[in-house]
Symmetry: C2
Subunit: 377 residues, 2 copies
């Protein structure tokens, strides 16, 4: 039996949605947080740890993987699943965001993007068709269209131009995706248009006309602030098809995620749990805890005694503090693991709450507990 | 029943010895390799991975731990076992070596050493008595006397002076160790004297007069080269009591260890497997493999398909190459784990060979296999 890519919406509670995305490599329970495995590794974690936290899917970066080791190389080694050892679903972005954020020299034309590698300055071209080809070579379960991302702040004209180009690239991406049969694999379009309602709605409409297995919201969490991000979601998610998964790209803090689920978003990815972990910052039920802080030096308590993840329940704050202060790998490993585990338990909490029609209670209680913060724990 | 610290010599095969060291926190099968947990973590490994490789004992550094987090702090948190989560035996060195190698400003007097922390320049004093007190506070199962280490090369006069001072410190260390009852804990003296036979024998004789639970050989692998190191062992190990464990400090490569076991050494420690691992160097049955090398980029084979450690058998060389080239934590984690695992299986191989009276065959076959190296695998 060939697996079919599809989305099942199980339940709504307010705007919050509980669903399942079915892919070639397994199911994704939504709302879902996707740990970021930039170059084929979720930084500092073993893949079985990632799985053990409850993650159903991880994300890989087309930009990074096309530069090193290269899409054809990964394909020759059996694809990204085999290469990395991650057996569940993988989503790859299209490279658009990193071309904007990482490459110092870049040119955007109708045909596609030309840019210089941030590693060695070598020149690359990335068209919508090549972006899809790379993701097919990697074997991604969810393949994103190529889009043009722009820096924040920007003018309305810049946003309009980028949104329109992204729409034309969406159409070409879609054609390229459909030109090869990939049962169980899906292709998402990306809504652009800054924080402007008219543009976001035009972008969503254009994408719906093309038709995708899922819809992402790009160009947020780039400096506009949480308030503007959420108000943009307020008018963007209602414009997206009910029967398709919605993915808010590159977001965010636990609070960003909770508030976005409340606005009908199903999927998220962010480097924050691992990046912050490497720098000594823990996300927990009790809010953020900065393990560099001297007050943890003599504290024998774990971050969260009741959490099933050993990184949260089996290591004292004193030990974590010592490891982080000493620049030890294990400190980065443990806090990255703890943060991914907390993010996943937050997602599980939201899924359970929606199932039980208690999302609003969960949302309020979670905010309340975060406020206790580092002080009360 | 109170556990008693003792050494059981099960078997000799040539000069190679098979034994067990019994300690408060469990048994150590010898010949033994002790992974180095400098500041309370074997760099890049979880403690259950360390245990899983077959390590019975790890080493902690008095110098590092007294600076950060501090001996009294570790004691208040329940000791080094509880602090780190390592439940097996722990050996701590005395700080002598790091005072020589790490501290830029140091003064050695009869009373003890005065030195500045390499972290913040703060001034510390370390007498033989304080070195033992720190190790007692840490809760080490094997506590080393304070000794004076000197740089290589050195004059005969410098070596003689340091050896004599180390002997006087040995006596004071022993008194301090015996002043407090610590059932199941042992105290090792350290033979010094450079590569000079007369001095080494005088040092060994002096230490035997004092009487220790074990005897270490210090001041080797400091730049004298393998040949001089082994010839020094040739006359030093026969001067040590047969019924006590012998520990060659800070050694070494797999080859150093194999050749030292052949000369009657029982215990080893070295940062090499983890340090080299972090830099992309693997130690395997087939010799050294430098994963940075471009030839591994497309190689789907693991480092050693038949090894029980997942780091050796479950990850392709291509993936390891990619991780190391990308500077990823997981690359450092996997190669550190692989190297500790290989070291432990080498020790197990030696123990089995001695048990079977086939040490010479094992030694020859191991050398032969190493020669195959990276090329033939």
């Amino acid at each position: 039996m060939t697996k079919q890519f599809k989305f099942t919406l199980h339940k709504k509670d307010g705007a919050a949605r509980r669903g399942t995305v079915h892919t070639a490599h397994g199911d994704i329970r939504t709302p879902a947080f996707m740990p970021v495995g930039t170059v084929g590794t979720v930084k500092g974690l073993y893949m079985d740890q990632v799985k053990g936290t409850g993650a159903d899917i991880i994300l890989g970066n087309t930009y990074h993987l096309m530069l090193r080791p290269g899409a054809e190389q990964v394909a020759a080694l059996g694809g990204l699943h085999k290469f990395t050892g991650w057996q569940g679903p993988i989503l790859t972005d299209s490279g658009g965001f990193q071309i904007m954020s990482l490459s110092k020299i870049r040119k955007i034309k109708e045909a596609g993007a030309t840019f210089s590698s941030h590693i060695d300055g070598r020149k690359y071209e990335l068209s919508p068709e090549r972006a899809m080809e790379i993701q097919r070579l990697l074997g991604s379960d969810i393949q994103m269209q190529l889009d043009q991302c722009i820096q924040f702040p920007h003018t309305e004209k810049e946003a309009e131009k980028a949104m329109q180009l992204s729409l034309r690239w969406a159409e070409r991406s879609r054609k390229a995706f459909q030109s090869v049969s990939q049962p169980g694999h899906g292709n998402f379009g990306i809504v652009q248009g800054g924080t402007d309602e008219r543009m976001r709605l035009a972008s969503a409409e254009g994408l719906k006309q093309i038709g995708f297995e899922g819809y992402a919201i790009g160009g947020l969490a780039v400096g506009e602030g949480q308030k503007l991000m959420l108000s943009t979601l307020d008018f963007t998610t209602p414009a997206l098809p009910v029967d398709r998964p919605r993915y808010l790209m590159g977001v965010g803090t636990p609070d960003d995620i909770l508030e976005s689920v409340a606005r009908g978003v199903d999927m998220f990815d962010c480097v924050m749990p691992t990046r912050s972990g490497r720098h000594g910052q823990a996300f927990t039920r009790f809010g953020k805890i900065n393990l560099r802080n001297a007050k943890h030096a003599d504290d024998p308590r774990p971050l969260d005694a009741e959490h099933p993840c050993p990184a949260l329940s089996q290591y004292s704050r004193a030990y974590l503090h010592h490891l982080i202060r000493s620049g030890e790998l294990l400190g980065m490993m443990l806090l990255s693991w703890a943060n991914i585990a907390y993010y996943q338990s937050l997602m599980q909490g939201m899924r359970d709450a929606i199932d039980a029609s208690k999302f609003e209670e969960f949302r309020a209680a979670t905010h309340e507990q975060w406020k206790m913060g580092d002080v009360a724990t």
